[in-house]
Structures are given as structure tokens and as C-alpha cells.
Symmetry: C5
Subunit: 255 residues, 5 copies
């Protein structure tokens, strides 16, 4: 009998990727550009500020390559709040210069592979440290500065290598090996893992953060040799960029 892991969910996540219409931007009169900058900064500041209220977090990133110019990440307690945030951006004067080149919808998750005790509600074993750790997974902060790599992924359901066909214990062992290797990047790479089963096209969305983009390469590269990844994972497109504070938007658009 197959045994799914237990899971607990936290905030919903929207990765909202935007491509700028640079030709239209270039042609726009100064007044329109000013208004777009103003409404853009206001939107971003307003949505980032929500974090103070402990009911979510937002951040904006300058992306490299053709897939997007901007990425706005929203974490919110409800799916409705994501939907509203998305539509609000579409209605700003800045939004009118963008098209939504892609997006990703997910919900932060911790699973029984990580800690049986947590899911067994074993109060003695679940100490404050673990509780805080799990809270940090479910209601994560977005690192103030640094580079981001985002990619969706799924477990493989091949005819020989089928993750969902494996016994729980075997999956847990692989997840633990994988976790240990991840922890070797402890101080250097932070991650937000969110499930998108039933919500978007892949099974998880992974967002990595680091002050050095080669760390983003190294962690994915080295962990690809783990069995959980080498034999049982499939990866979607990868997106890379760098966080900037809303007040730097004019520089981004003008520089």
C-alpha cells in the first residue's frame, strides 16, 4: 500500500513574471513614463509593506534574459489575496507597459519526510526550534537582497523510475540524503519550497536565494547527483534575477 507523506500548508505564492514593452516605453511621453514609475513604486511599496503586518510578503526582481524583465513574488495567507494583487498590478500605469509572460501558483508546504514528530503532534519532541523552523518554511521571509533562481519541478513517474510507486521509507531516505546535502549550503542559500499539485503544471515551485549567483548554480548542480534528483526528478524552466528595492524602479526603467 502506498503511503503519501503528511503535509502542512502555509502561505499561497504567486510568481508573477512580466515582460516590458520597451518600444512602447521608449515612445511614451515623459508624463506617461512618470506616472507609470509613480504607480509602479507605489504598488510595489504597498505590497512589500504588507510584510510588516505579518500577513504575507512581496518582492520585486530584475530578471536576466528574454523570459521576463520583472518578477513580482507575492506570498499571502489566501489565494484571493494573490488574485487581487495580480489584478491590481495589471491596472497600474506600469502594468499597461507589461505583459504577463508566465506565472506560477503554489502554496508553501512542509511534509512528513522532514519531521514525523511534528505531524504526530508529539509535544515533547517538537521543541521551539523545530516549530520556528517549520513556521519559517510556511510563512517565509523574502531575503532583503541578493539573487533568485526559480524553477518548477515534479517527481518522475517513469516506467522504471516511478517515485509514486516507491514505499514511504525509501522516499524518506532519499529526501533525508537530499536535505543533508542542501544543508551544506546552509548560510549561503535560502529556499522557499511550495507545492503546486492541483494548482499549477508542475508539482512544486522552488525559489532559491543567495548573495552569489554561483551558489545558485552549485547547489542545483551538486544536488542533481542525489538519487532523489538524479533518478526521480524532472525540472521545468529556470529563471534568474536580482531583488531590488521599489525605489530603484526608476533606475531599472531608465538605466
Amino acid at each position: 500500500m502506498r503511503e503519501p507523506p503528511q503535509t502542512d500548508e502555509g502561505w499561497y505564492a504567486l510568481h508573477d513574471f512580466r515582460r516590458l514593452d520597451w518600444a512602447a516605453w521608449r515612445d511614451a511621453p515623459q508624463r506617461e513614463q512618470d506616472r507609470a514609475v509613480e504607480e509602479g513604486v507605489e504598488y510595489l511599496q504597498h505590497h512589500e509593506d504588507v510584510a510588516d503586518a505579518e500577513d504575507g510578503a512581496s518582492a520585486v526582481f530584475a530578471m536576466v534574459g528574454h523570459k521576463a524583465d520583472l518578477l513580482v513574488v507575492h506570498l499571502r495567507p489566501t489565494l484571493d489575496a494573490l488574485s487581487t494583487a495580480e489584478r491590481r498590478f495589471d491596472r497600474t500605469a506600469l502594468g499597461a507597459f507589461t505583459e504577463q509572460s508566465t506565472s506560477y501558483v503554489s502554496v508553501t508546504e512542509v511534509s512528513g519526510y522532514v519531521s514525523d514528530a511534528y505531524f504526530a503532534d508529539d509535544e515533547e519532541e517538537v521543541d521551539t526550534g523545530l516549530k520556528r523552523y517549520i513556521e519559517g518554511k510556511l510563512e517565509p521571509e523574502i531575503p532583503e537582497d541578493g539573487y533568485l533562481s526559480f524553477y518548477p519541478m515534479s517527481r518522475k513517474r517513469g516506467e522504471q523510475d516511478n517515485w509514486y510507486d516507491l514505499p514511504f521509507e525509501r522516499r524518506r531516505e532519499m529526501m533525508q540524503e537530499h536535505g543533508e546535502h542542501g544543508r551544506e549550503f546552509g548560510g549561503r542559500v535560502k529556499q522557499i519550497v511550495a507545492s503546486s499539485v492541483g494548482l499549477d503544471d508542475w508539482e512544486w515551485g522552488v525559489t532559491l536565494f543567495s548573495d552569489d549567483p554561483t551558489d545558485l548554480k552549485d547547489i542545483v548542480y551538486e544536488m542533481r547527483y542525489d538519487e532523489a534528483s538524479a533518478r526521480y526528478s524532472e525540472f521545468g524552466p529556470f529563471y534568474v534575477g536580482r531583488r531590488f528595492p521599489p525605489e530603484d524602479l526608476p533606475a531599472f526603467l531608465g538605466g
Copy 2:
């Protein structure tokens, strides 16, 4: 000899996904916006009202992410009625602000895996409860409120794992295991399953409804461990959104 399951069909379904041209919307004069709202509300109310006449059902959803802004679901006794509903929307002033980013055509179905008795017309065994259950599958209501997840899927025809190569009894066992796990989500998740073989690119379209979007994630995630899903299913894109009453369209467009 291979034995296909018997099936019975009910209403045809059109999932009509629309992306809004927010830049055009923003630029449109108030009068045009007003007219689009008016015609949009009228269209949606008129098509939802059909449900009272017991010849179908319609509902509109606000979608999250780039794949669509709006989803209009139509269930009708004939394919022609779907075609007409689709074209009518295209001709509203609201439709002119949208493009049909994708769509899905299917027909509600019950199959012999569920109940042999029903297909054997065994009057004694087919009690009123079963009849009502099957009617609810073939001519389903769309839940008044709550979140939706839609995805198309097919049975796998791999070189080792080939659903259509299995004996009927083996398929039925897997479907029953799958059904039992689905029923564990009884009060929380409702579903409309419709066949699209010969009609659209995958073999089925599945629409899930719940008041809590994590239930949408949980049901798909947990059932993925069932053999019918783990080894014998392939999934297309997933779409997520929330139903809203037609009279909230102005808020959706303005808020």
C-alpha cells in the same frame, strides 16, 4: 480480448478561458467600459439563469496566473448550445476585451467501473440513491461558491504501463481503490468528470470544487499515490480560480 467499460453520457461541457487585455481596458473611455460591464453581467446572468430551467448550468471564475483571467464554464444538453454560448460571449462588448487563451470540450460521463448494476439495468439493484448519484454526475450542479481546479488527463499508453492493455477486472480494481480514496474527501471536494475522447486533446477533463484551495492540492496529491494515477495517468496543465457571482464583475474589473 480487451473489454472497454460501458459508459453513459450527460451534458456537454465547455471550459472557456479568457485573458483580459488590461492595457486596452485601461485606455478605454468610461462609456465603453460601462457597456462592457453591462453586457458582461447580462451575458453571465442570462447563462447562469438557464440552470433554473434544468437544461444546463453556467458559472464564471476569476483565475489566478497568466493562463487566464476569467473562466466561463458551460454545461448544456447539446454541443450546439455550447457553440452558441461561446460565440455569444465573443460578440459582447466584454468579449472584445478578451482573447480565448485556451478552452476544453468534453461530455459528462459515468462508466461501468462505477456500477455494473446501472449498466445491466438491474432494477432491483439500482435504487433511487444510485440513480440520483448518477444523475448528479451526468447533469451536475456547479457549486455556488468556492475554488475550482481544472485539469485534463489521459490514461498512459506506455510500452510497459499501458492502461488500454490491461484486463477489465484489473482496471476496475484500480478505479475502485481510486474512488474510495476520492470519497475520503467527501464533504470537502466535489468533482465533475467529463470525457473528451474524440472531442479534445486529452481523454478526460476533471473539474474540482472546494471551499478551501488546500483541499484541491491535497486530493490530487494524495490520489497521485494510487496505482491508477501513479502508473497509469498523465496530466495536462492545471488551472485554479474562484467562482464569483455575475454582479461582482464590476469589482473584478475595477478592483
Copy 3:
């Protein structure tokens, strides 16, 4: 040694799928709409009338879903006639409101799996009935009314299941089993099978016709359990619609 089946070819087929630019249509002055309707009806009538001259057949279908609004099917003795028909539509005032969302090029075909006698020119065995049957396959009529399902398909060339690696006799057995199951839908479903090897992306284009769209679903669904389909076929996208007479074009565009 591998033995390809013998084949005989008839009319060339173009499936010309068109999406309407409803926003442009809505904005067009009445005069332009009138002209588009007039030229559209004239084009369609002119091309359908060709059938009387026994040198081809054409028909127009209202399609459901985002893949196309209209499908014009042309059957002609030469590829050039298809090319001319396609360009003529592009140059009508109606064509200017459409984009060709997709298309399919093929040629009707009968193969040696069906009748050895026919290909052996065995006059005694090839009676008038068989001749007429084959003629109907190579120069088919398009049913006056009813629903259509079109899909392209190929035989699988997998590493285990490779159709082209099988002996002729084995392929013929499977084709005969498949044919017998198809004939069970005798009065209800008609089909046009046309080869597209060397002409388009898949190996065949299949067009099914029926007065009841659930028959279109049933035939594809049930025949999927045949070995020829279950293990040795791959299917492309499916398109569904309903034939209408050219004089109903105004209703289609206005209704």
C-alpha cells in the same frame, strides 16, 4: 524483410482551420460586415458546388473551442486545386477577418490491409460492391449534416512497440480487428481516412462524421482498446464542430 502494404490514392484533402478576429468584426462598419458575409457565402457555395461536377467536395463547419471558429474542408483531385482554394479564401473579405490557426494536408488512401484482391487486380474477386466501396473511400462525399471530429495520428515507433518493425501479417490482423470494431458503428459514424506521410506532420488525418457527437466519443474510446490503437497509435490534437450550409453564415457571424 519488412513489407509495406500496397496503397491506392484518391483526392487530396485540405483541412483549413480559421479563427475569427471577433474584436475586429465587432468594430467593422456594417458595410464591411455585409461584404464579408457576401463574399464568404459566395466562396463557400462556389466551392461546395464543385461537388456536383464530381471533381471534389467542400464543406464548412462551426468549431467549438479556442482552436478554431471555422473549418473549411476541401477534397480535390489535385494538390494545386487545394492551394488555389486556400489562397482564394485568404483573399475574400471574410478571410481578412480570420487567421489560419492550423491546417492539415493529406490524400485519401486505401491500403492492402483492406483487400488483397483489389491490389492483385483479381477481377473475379473484386466485385462491383468492393469497387464502389473503395471509390467511396478515395472520392468520398462529405455528409450533408452532422458533427465532425478531426484528428491526426501516427503509428508508434517505440523501442518495444514499433509498428514498422512488425511483419505484414501481424499488422493485417490488427487492422482487421480494428476494422471490424469500426464497422459496429456502421450506420452511425462515417469516416474519411487520408494519408499525410511526406505531406504533413502526422501519418494520417482521420475525419469522423455523425449525427450524434457522443458517437464520435464512443467510437474513438472503444477502438482505443484495440491493439492497433492501444499499443501502436499516437494521436494529435482533436477538433470538433458541426457542418452548416453556406447560407447560414450570416447567422453564425451574427447570432
Copy 4:
């Protein structure tokens, strides 16, 4: 040890596929249409004439289906000449009514599978006939009239069926069987085979020519049963059309 075949290269080939913007064409004033026709004819004649100088060949084809309206094939001794020809077309008044829907870059090739003697520079065995044959492969003429089928293809690198994993002798046997079957279409089908490894997405581009389009179907269909094709080939999209002389461009655009 794996042994690649020896190869010799000739002219570079560009298959330049163009879709016409028929709506823009229809709306254009007569003067603009006239100029587009004039510049188009001039461009095509000028590029076809190059053939007289024995430094290349060009031809234009009317394509059937949505993938392209026109295909211009250029064969030239240098890649630079292809690049210049492509840009020149973009800058004609006709080019402005087209978009380049796709393209293919390759270089004509003969390989050691065909003739060891040629590559061993064995003067005695390489008679004038073989030399001329090989020259005709490397610097091919484009048949004056008739139908064309173009498709890209690669050898399969599957986990069981891996062409590049086979010994040279085994590959040569299959190529010879394949070649013999091809020669059965001797007088009816001509072909240009060009390698695109390192240049474009597939490994070869194959262009077939025939006065009867069913021959294009038959040769691909029958040769698909050869082991080299059945087990070791993967095919891209297929394009079909008919050559026309530059002076027929007005008829193509107007008729």
C-alpha cells in the same frame, strides 16, 4: 570504438519559409501591391539567375497549409551568401508583407556510407560517373518544375535503439538497404540531402521533388519500413508545395 562516417560538403542551403499577411495585402493600395510584385519578381529572378553562373541555385514554391505561403530555397557556396539573400528578401517591398514563419539551415553532404572509394581517393575505382553523381549531390540543381516535400530528421539516440552506438558496418548495411529502396523511385523522385548538425535543430534536412505528389507520399511511406527509418529515425514537421516561375508571382498573389 565508434567510427563516424567520412563526409564531404558542398553548397549551403537555406529554406526560407514565409507567411503572407493577406489582410494587409488586401488593404494595401494598388501602387504598393504593384511595387511589392515588381520587387518580388526581380528578387526571385535575380536569385534564380545565379544558377547560370554555377555558383548556386534558388527557387520559389507555393506552399499548402498554414505553415507557410511561400518557400524560397537558396543553395550557395558560402553561408554568407545565404545570410545576404535572406536579408535582401526582408528588405524588398514583398518581404514587408511576409513574416518568416520558420527556416532551415544546412549544408549538402555525401558520406562514406555511399562510397568508400571516393573517400579513399582511389582513382581507379572513382570513375567519371561516380564523380558526377557526387557532384550532383554536393552542387544540386533544383528541378525546374514539380512538387516539393521538405522535412528535417535525426537519427534516434534511444536507450535501446541508438544509432550512434552501432558499429560502422551495421550502419552502412542499413544505409545501403535504405539507398536501394530509394533508388526504386529513380526517375520519379529527386532528393537533396543536407546535414544540419551544429547548424540547425535536427541532423539533416531532406528535400524531395516529384511531378506527382503521391510519389512524395509513397517514397517516405515505403522507406519508413526500412530498419534505418523504422527503428533509427525521428522526423520533424513536413512541408509541401509546388515550384512556380518568378513571373507567376502576380498570379499567386492575385489569383
Copy 5:
């Protein structure tokens, strides 16, 4: 236990592919064209000049085929510098005539397969030659003239042939065989290999340079027979073009 190779990283690379809107270019008044040329030349010269300062390199290429008209390659010590260079191009008057048809983000890399000594910091074994060799890999020059072939690739993770499942020693043997074959193209082909794990959709981006485009074909073709490639590599799209000096931009646009 799986052992990833050690790696060292150098400059970040952006391959920025641009398609020209030739119709818009043709319609633009001379003054606008002049300005686009002027800003384009200035941008390209400014970015190529950076190479003198030893903190990067840039070059522009005229591409053949529909995938791109221009490719601008940037190598820089930081990801931020790439991001800035990309946005600056978007804001030139030339950029306004282009769309970014695709792009690729990577970072130059040497790995432990090449030299254990280098990674072991074994000063005696790492002589000046090796140091210079590795420096040339991490901070490469872009050859002054000649043809380029760019393609992304990944190691295969199939169910039988899984690169990441192999022991280090086995992978190193294959890499060395592969390297030896590559060195046979020594004077004729130069390459820049950059990792894109965690940064873009494939695992590496490979850029080849040669004065003869058939060498680009030959090296990829012959090396495809190496086990590392035949059984363990998957290739993305291929792009081909030729470098030109910024001052030839007017000829490119006008000729």
C-alpha cells in the same frame, strides 16, 4: 555514493538573440533609421571596448534563419553587468526595432574532469600552461572573426542511461575521450563552455567558433559518436551566424 565533479567559475554569459522588425524598419523615416544605426554602433562599440579593460568581452553576430537576425554575446564578471547590458540595448533606438526572440544565461566553468591537480591546488603539477589554459576557459576572448554555432545541452537522465547515476571515474573517462576528440579540431575550432544549471533551461551552453562553418558541423557530428554524447547528451536548438565589427552595422541593416 555519487560524487559531483569540482568546478570553478569565471565570467557570466548572456546570449541575447534579437529579431528585427524589417517591416517597421522599411517604413521608418531616414532620420529614425540613422539614429538607430548611430545608437546601435555606439552601443556595440562601447560594449566590445570593455574587453580592453579586461573585465569582460562582447561581440555581435549576423544570424542565419528565422530564429534571430542578431546575436549579441556578453561576457562579464557579474550577473548584474549582464542585466544592465541587456536593458541598455532595449533602450537604444536600434533595440526598439527588435524583439528578444530568445536568450541564454550561463557562467563559464572548468570542472574536475579536466584537471584534478588544479582543484587539488597541487602547485607543482599546476604549471603556468595549465593555469593559462584554465584562465582562458574562465575569462575567454571572443575570436575576432569567423562563424559561431551556439547550442544548449544537458546530460541525459534516462531510465537506463542516466549520467548522474554513474560513478565519477566512469564519467571522467568519457569526458577525457570526448576531450581528446575535441582537441583534434585544435587550431580550427575554439569553444566557450558555460554552465547554466540553476540559471537557464539546459545544463550547459556551448559556443563554437571557426573560420569555416563546415568545421562547426564536423566537430559536432564526429563528437556525437563519443559515448558521452551518443548515450548521455541531449541537445537543444542550434543557432548559427557570423561575427561582424560594429561599424558594419549599417551595411547589415542596409545591404
